[in-house]
Every structure is written in C-alpha cells, then in structure tokens.
Symmetry: C2
Subunit: 101 residues, 2 copies
C-alpha cells in the first residue's frame, strides 16, 4: 500500500455520501430490493442514484471516485453499469490502518 493509494482511499472515505454508498453495497439485497437483476456484479447506478438523494451526475462522480481509489469495481452489462465493493482492497486498507495508524 503506497502513500498515494492510502491518500486516495482516505480522501474517498472522507465524504459521507461515498461512505454511505460503500456501506449500502455491503447488503445489496437489503438496501436495493428494487433492482430487477441479480446482484452478481453489484448494483447499478440508477439504484444508487435513487437512494442517494443526489443528482445522477453527482452519484456517477462519487462512484468514479470510489473506483479510482480501488474501493469498488464496475462492470457494464448492456446499458447498465454495476458497481460492487472491492473487499480485498477494503480489507487491506483497514488492516494497514490498524497496523500503522
């Protein structure tokens, strides 16, 4: 974990909307019951948008931010783009912080 990785992750987490999104993605079935498709690759942007109470562009921007930090990954399926947590990165970050903070 480089200082740059750490920096982008902490900055990503420093925004409450992004923390909310990351938390919601822990339980997609519970947090996004409206979604028609399965949760194999996570939750699509529209679902998150509806729940977030922010504009579509803002939500998209937050998701891009989380992805740049490595905290989530995305997969396009037709018109939709699904986002899911990158548990490996998240765990590594939490461990690193517990170790070094």
């Amino acid at each position: 974990m480089t200082q740059n990785d750490l920096d982008s992750i902490i900055k990503a987490l420093s925004n409450p909307a992004r923390r909310d999104i990351l938390a919601w993605l822990k339980s997609p079935e519970i947090e996004f019951p409206e979604q028609c498709s399965n949760y194999e690759h996570g939750v699509c942007v529209g679902q998150i948008f509806e729940k977030a109470g922010l504009s579509q562009s803002t939500v998209s921007s937050h998701l891009a931010n989380l992805q740049r930090a490595g905290l989530v990954s995305s997969k396009r399926q037709g018109q939709w783009v699904y986002y899911q947590r990158n548990e490996e990165c998240i765990a590594e970050f939490a461990d690193y912080l517990k170790q070094t903070l």
Copy 2:
C-alpha cells in the same frame, strides 16, 4: 462511535500533513530528538513546527484539528503546549473501521 466522531476523524486523517504529525508522535524520541524536556506529555508545538515545513500557524491549526477529532490531547506546561497521541481513540477508530467498513 457516532457518525460525527467518525466524520471528524476521517476528515482529520484525510490531510497528509496531519497524518505525518500523528505518525511522528508514535516515536517522539526518534522523531524529535531535539526536544529538551522529556516526552511524558508528548511533543511541543515548536518541535513539530520545525519538522513540518509549514508555518507556525498552520501547524497549530492542524494540531487543533487533530485534537477536535480526539486523535491527540494536549497539555500546557508553562509556555509550552505538548501534544501526544490519544491511543485509545486511535485504536477505537481503527477497530471500528475494520468492523464496519
């Protein structure tokens, strides 16, 4: 740990200068060998200021920020104010994050 606590802690940690200071305070004897007094209550502002490469007022502001977040505590001894890590708060935060992130 309330959402407010979490928010102020993460925001405090989102700045690299503040992360540096917090890291330095882990090993005062090594990082601040210049300090004349003992490290009982931590390190005084002037020492941190000299190491940080930032203005005195900026360093003071960063320390106040860390303290508001609960990550450090301060004790005045005569003219000097000593800052030290609040290990309890730091550990609680790291655990909370590992649990809930």
